[in-house]
């Protein structure tokens, strides 16, 4: 294996047009992803964390070739796939699959579970003969902890957790190398989340999968990730390995995010002085000048509203902040 990275994203920019009036005249644009770079090593779990509108899902869709990009470069498994569409992308998607957040909206309600799981095989012409196809579906179902006889049922007969297992089985059908998981447990009941998280970790060990994990729940992210990048308004503000990021967060936004999440421990919560981050996420239509976080940052300095901070490396952390 020459390249240790399965995915390399360089300076990715995705802008959405703002249109006005009947003729949809373009009057501006929204920088949903504004210069994002990261790489993912084979076999690891890399997480993108952030609040709504930070660009984490748009980044994922760009990697999958499901979102047109403005500029930047995406290299997957040694191949520059930037701007690939249709047939080209189809061959890449055999190696790259996705699990969505909503297990209710992402499964076709009119298809039987077996057919849903087998669909990628049929689309890619890999179904083979009937016997082989059946055996493959049976194997996939047992891999994710579903019973074989469930293949003849429809999605509505399943609970949220089981549906997420179906989604995972479908994503595994083509034996991909990379699976992009977009908030895979946030729609599930608490007692079911742990089941799905365990399943994802088990599959990674057994099949050597690489995950790009997108989430806002920091305790889940800490549990499952090897490395974490925190996004805010279309940019990565801090990136480090899991222990560094959670033990010594550096960017004021990362610190605020960690402080905002209540821990399931009343004693700890009582000791912890609540430090509230002020204000709300600014609109992407008119992002703040300079560092986009300065409007909410407790440690903002005059320079923060003028200059956009460049990427620096402090200890084992890469971050964009004028404080360092």
């Amino acid at each position: 294996m020459t390249n240790p990275n399965i995915l390399e994203v360089e300076d990715l920019k995705v802008h959405f047009p703002i249109t006005e009036g009947l003729l949809k005249r373009q009057v501006g644009s929204i920088a949903a992803v504004n210069g994002v770079s990261f790489h993912i090593r084979r076999g690891e779990t890399f997480s993108l964390v952030g609040e709504s509108g930070c660009g984490k899902s748009t980044t994922a869709l760009s990697v999958l070739g499901m979102q047109a990009i403005l500029s930047g470069q995406i290299i997957f498994d040694g191949e520059n796939i930037t701007g690939w569409t249709g047939a080209q992308m189809r061959h890449i998607r055999r190696k790259m699959q996705m699990v969505y957040q909503d297990p209710f909206g992402s499964l076709n309600p009119r298809m039987k579970v077996g057919a849903i799981i087998g669909e990628p095989l049929r689309v890619h012409g890999l179904a083979g003969d009937r016997e082989k196809y059946r055996a493959r579906i049976k194997h996939l179902m047992s891999t994710v902890g579903l019973l074989e006889e469930m293949s003849e049922r429809y999605p509505h007969e399943f609970s949220g957790g089981q549906r997420q297992r179906i989604s995972i089985a479908r994503a595994l059908a083509l034996e991909p190398q990379l699976i992009i998981c977009d908030e895979p447990v946030s729609a599930l009941d608490v007692s079911i989340q742990a089941q799905v998280i365990n399943l994802l970790m088990e599959l990674q060990e057994r099949l050597g999968l690489t995950y790009l994990f997108i989430a806002h729940d920091l305790s889940v992210v800490r549990h499952i990730s090897d490395r974490v990048a925190v996004m805010y308004l279309g940019k990565i503000v801090e990136e480090a390995d899991r222990d560094t990021l959670f033990k010594t967060p550096k960017h004021p936004y990362t610190k605020a995010l960690l402080g905002a999440v209540p821990e399931a421990d009343p004693e700890l919560e009582a000791r912890r002085a609540e430090q509230l981050i002020i204000g709300e996420i600014p609109s992407l239509r008119s992002p703040p000048m300079g560092c986009t976080f300065h409007t909410r940052c407790a440690q903002a300095m005059p320079i923060c509203s003028i200059d956009s901070p460049t990427l620096k490396t402090v200890d084992a952390t890469a971050l964009t902040c004028h404080l360092y």
Partner: protein
């Protein structure tokens, strides 16, 4: 101290296409003035139905079968609808999960916040509007006076939830019920909204019922916790006690299954096997028994009653002695 709200042996059924579904089965709860009670549970556990019963908002299909809901000594299951309307929004206020759909899109924010004041406190309309402006300032909406004329779509999700809190506080209610008030919001905004709610409730000396599935939120904001499963309360205790000494196997499992920020990353999480039950097809006996690691014969036969097992700690489980 007499409880502000005392629910005893409340059972509620809903008429559905598949027959009657028992959403609540013998729920009993006490809440004293100034207390924050969290009701915790998964989907279908009955936590929202409990709240809706207090407000008499079960709709046409829902029906209180047995039990009492005493609010300041008055049984809300017996009072006429007109009396409930006097109480609702006045002495008991409600904050819903979805700030998008619980505000009227065609009325100004000022109108919506002023309405309960005008209606319940019999103030003139200009007085009510002036008060609405003050309330919006109190919930930290910038330029509150100017924003009275704005419509809900001009507010962000967090700001809309602040408006909901302003409406709830308008008549200085004795009890505020908030059903997953921050589930639709981002975490940094969630923390702002919950602290605001908690602080303002404290200032008024009111009680708060917080319905949530988030055990972190419970740990940060609740004094007392009731854990619900399959339409019944399985355990109640003070928040400190519950997290330190969870006694019900379900509570135990829930606590163990969430990843902690100081836990061991990469390890396998504890799991509760199986799925939360379907209310239309509840298992016999204790509804948790098919998922329980400590199941006994008795658990399949009968429903364990909620009994006191320690000071301020109640439990419904046959496995405990």
């Amino acid at each position: 101290m007499d409880p502000l709200l005392a629910i005893s042996d409340l059972s509620v059924t809903f008429a559905t296409d598949r027959g009657h579904v028992q959403a609540l089965d013998g729920v009993s709860l006490d809440l004293v003035a100034g207390e924050t009670l969290a009701i915790v549970g998964e989907s279908g556990s009955g936590k929202s139905v409990t709240a809706l019963s207090v407000l008499g908002l079960l709709g046409d299909s829902g029906q209180v079968k047995t039990g009492k809901i005493e609010f300041e000594g008055e049984d809300l299951t017996k009072v006429p609808a007109s009396r409930l309307r006097e109480i609702r929004g006045n002495q008991i206020a409600f904050i819903f999960q979805e700030p998008m759909s619980s505000l009227n899109p065609v009325l100004t924010i000022g109108t919506q916040v002023a309405e309960p004041i005008w209606l319940h406190h019999k103030k003139s309309w200009p007085e009510a509007i002036a008060e609405a402006g003050k309330l919006l300032a109190k919930v930290a909406i910038p330029d509150a006076e100017q924003r009275l004329e704005d419509y809900p779509h001009q507010f962000s999700g967090g700001m809309r939830q602040r408006v909901m809190i302003a409406m709830a506080l308008a008549c200085q209610p004795r009890l505020i019920i908030a059903d997953e008030p921050t589930t639709a919001l981002d975490v940094t905004v969630q923390a702002q909204i919950l602290s605001l709610l908690k602080n303002l409730t404290k200032e008024l000396g009111s009680s708060l019922i917080l319905i949530t599935h988030d055990l972190g939120v419970v740990a940060r904001y609740a004094d007392k916790v009731a854990v619900m499963y399959g339409g019944r309360i399985v355990e109640t205790a003070s928040a400190l006690d519950l997290y330190k000494n969870p006694k019900h196997p379900y509570t135990n499992g829930l606590m163990a299954s969430i990843p902690k920020l100081d836990g061991d990353p990469g390890s396998r999480l504890f799991t509760i096997e199986g799925q939360p039950p379907d209310l239309s097809d509840l298992p016999a006996g204790c509804a948790f028994h098919p998922r329980c690691p400590h199941v006994h014969e008795a658990c399949r036969a009968g429903k364990p009653p909620l009994r006191s097992v320690a000071p301020n700690h109640e439990l419904a489980c046959f496995g405990y002695d």
